[in-house]
């Protein structure tokens, strides 16, 4: 019996050591092959993968980062490659990191090289898409930014001239005896004034951001890559664009009213006729004004959001400081 127990112990040690070695080596092999442990997927697209196959290595700046997991043909010019990347590499891979196919070793094995972008961007997400061209996203964003800025400048000029025109139209003030119009007009005007100030701010901020991106500064890169900021900006521009168009229409209408009233008075039709036309025109004017109000209000809201977005907040604060300083001087 004692001998049997001893034999069982020996057998137990024998089997356990075999299993232990097996498990440890599978773990070590797996760690190398990203089979076990924590990994995440990243996609990238190529037009030609040059014989890359599933299982090829993925290197990040030359460091083993993962393996090619899957290759799929999306359409006749696009092949999507799914990479299995070690989670430990995640903080270093950004949304603007770009992927290229290179050669590995003498045997002609293919390898995917992930190269970090100089421009900072947010960390890659699981299943995110990497680009295979250098800095496409930044270029695109810079273009958008400068377009936005141009638009904003034009709009701001238009709005300012509208406000001035309305303010300076003495004839308008004299004929409009409807009590609601001056009130509405006042609200619209104040909205417009606020909007123009903000437009100036925004223009300055965009200029700042563009400059930072060109200089390769920290937060700017991630800002450009942030979809929410880009959307907010686009939306703001669209809203203010509407407001500006409406105000142009309104200015044209006011002009025509003033001209007609003057003509009527000159032709001796009297104020009664003018008043008749007035009610019709007033309703149109009111309509325009409410549109302006809506547009500017929406724009202001967008700007508010941008001012509080943690990515752009800094820029707006800087701008406010600058404005204060300018006011003092």
């Amino acid at each position: 019996m004692a001998k049997e127990t001893l034999n069982n112990i020996k057998l137990g040690i024998f089997i356990s050591s075999g299993l232990l070695i097996l498990i440890v080596s599978l773990y070590l092999v797996g760690r190398n092959q990203n089979f076990f442990g924590s990994n995440f997927y990243v996609r990238c697209r190529f037009s030609n993968i040059n014989g890359l196959i599933a299982g090829n290595n993925v290197r990040f700046s030359g460091i083993q980062a993962g393996t090619v997991n899957q290759i799929q043909v999306i359409d006749d010019t696009t092949i999507e490659v799914t990479l299995l990347i070690d989670k430990k590499m995640k903080p270093y891979i950004h949304q603007n990191t770009y992927a290229t196919i290179g050669n590995d070793g003498l045997m002609g094995n293919k390898v995917i090289n992930l190269t970090p972008n100089m421009v900072p961007a947010p960390e890659i997400v699981d299943g995110g898409l990497l680009y295979n061209k250098k800095k496409p996203y930044t270029d695109e964003m810079m273009e958008t930014l400068s377009n936005t800025n141009n638009n904003v400048e034009v709009l701001s000029r238009k709005l300012i001239s509208t406000v001035e025109q309305i303010n300076n139209s003495h004839a308008l003030w004299s004929i409009l005896n409807d009590t609601t119009i001056p009130k509405n007009l006042n609200v619209s005007l104040s909205n417009i004034k606020e909007a123009t100030v903000r437009i100036n701010d925004m223009s300055a901020v965009i200029t700042d951001i563009a400059k930072d991106i060109r200089d390769g500064k920290g937060a700017a890169g991630s800002l450009v890559a942030d979809e929410k900021v880009a959307n907010d900006m686009k939306q703001a521009v669209a809203h203010i664009n509407n407001a500006a168009q409406e105000s142009e229409v309104m200015v044209a209408r006011i002009d025509s009213i003033v001209k007609q009233v003057q003509q009527d008075i000159n032709n001796g039709h009297g104020t009664a006729h003018a008043l008749l036309k007035d009610t019709m025109l007033v309703s149109r004017l009111n309509n325009s004004m409410s549109n302006i109000e809506k547009g500017t209000a929406a724009f202001n809201k967008d700007m508010e959001a941008l001012q509080h977005n943690f990515l752009t907040r800094g820029y707006f604060k800087k701008e406010a400081k600058k404005n204060k300083k300018a006011m003092k001087e």
């Binding site: 049997e4 034999n7 069982n8 020996k10 057998l11 024998f14 089997i15 050591s17 075999g18 299993l19 070695i21 097996l22 080596s25 599978l26 070590l28 092999v29 797996g30 760690r31 190398n32 092959q33 089979f35 299982g55």
Partner: protein, 276 residues
């Protein structure tokens, strides 16, 4: 398998039928043998799942078959690792890739040499002893005695041995791989200097699941083939001392051959599956 079973059943008639057609009786004997072996294998699979289970005897066989084979297989693995390293070194130096020595050796050991050498040694040691042991038990009516004692001798003798061989060879093979790699590490260190951790880092950096898993899986088949052939030969050995000797001898020859055939099949399968 069914065809073979029928063939076995009808083999006497076949002999008569075909004699006039001059079918060599050795060919019929061959088919008869394959048919009988197939029946033996299918009986094994029937009995291995049916209770009652001879657990104690199985553990005893694991000890005898597995643990007792470790020294022999370990020494062989060690020598193979060492020798392979020393033999490969000059060639790798000539091509300027001596740093790939751990890579080459680990691939060779893990994929092929570890499993196959272990299996061959195992076949020599285990298959022959099974053939002789069961053969002599058959001849001295011990198997009949078990049967009349209410113990199913197939379960008690064959199932436990085959199962133990199937499960122990993979363990032995893994240990042999490990010992072989250590031997190779020593082989590297005869001329060069490398730390154990660096050496094994290189080894595991090279190995993929496609190298390790098929190699381990095939050892189960090796173990099964070795066990079942040894038991089949012993269990069906003819009367007399000569029959026992023949059983032991043919068990070794056939199971060694079978190891290579299974190896060939595995390499084809892994190739088709793209595991290399």
């Amino acid at each position: 398998m069914i065809i073979f079973m029928q063939l076995r059943v009808n083999v006497t008639e076949f002999c008569i039928d075909f004699n006039c057609m001059k079918i060599p009786s050795s060919l019929l004997g061959f088919f008869n043998e394959i048919g009988a072996a197939s029946r033996f294998v299918s009986r094994y699979f029937q009995e291995v799942v049916q209770p009652r289970y001879e657990v104690k005897q199985f553990i005893k066989q694991c000890f005898l078959i597995g643990y007792r084979s470790l020294p022999l297989i370990g020494i062989t693995g060690f020598i193979m690792g060492l020798v392979l390293t020393m033999q490969l070194r000059p060639t790798l130096i000539a091509y300027g890739v001596v740093s790939k020595l751990p890579v080459m050796v680990s691939l060779a050991i893990v994929r092929e040499i570890g499993p196959v050498i272990s299996a061959l040694i195992f076949a020599g040691k285990i298959s022959s002893s099974m053939g002789a042991e069961l053969g002599s038990m058959k001849v001295t009516e011990q198997i009949d005695a078990m049967e009349v004692s209410g113990t199913n001798p197939f379960k008690y003798l064959v199932v436990t041995r085959v199962l133990a061989a199937t499960l122990m060879l993979p363990v032995l093979s893994v240990l042999s791989d490990a010992i072989g790699l250590y031997g190779s590490y020593l082989g590297v260190n005869i001329r060069d200097h490398t730390s154990l951790s660096l050496y094994f880092f290189e080894v595991f950096n090279t190995l993929k699941f496609g190298d390790v898993l098929p190699a381990i899986i095939k050892t189960f088949f090796f173990g099964f083939a070795i066990g079942i052939i040894g038991c089949y030969k012993g269990y069906n050995s003819s009367k007399g001392t000569e029959g026992v000797g023949r059983a032991a001898n043919s068990a070794v020859v056939i199971s060694s051959l079978m190891v290579f055939i299974i190896d060939l099949i595995t390499v084809q399968i892994t190739d088709v599956l793209g595991l290399n």
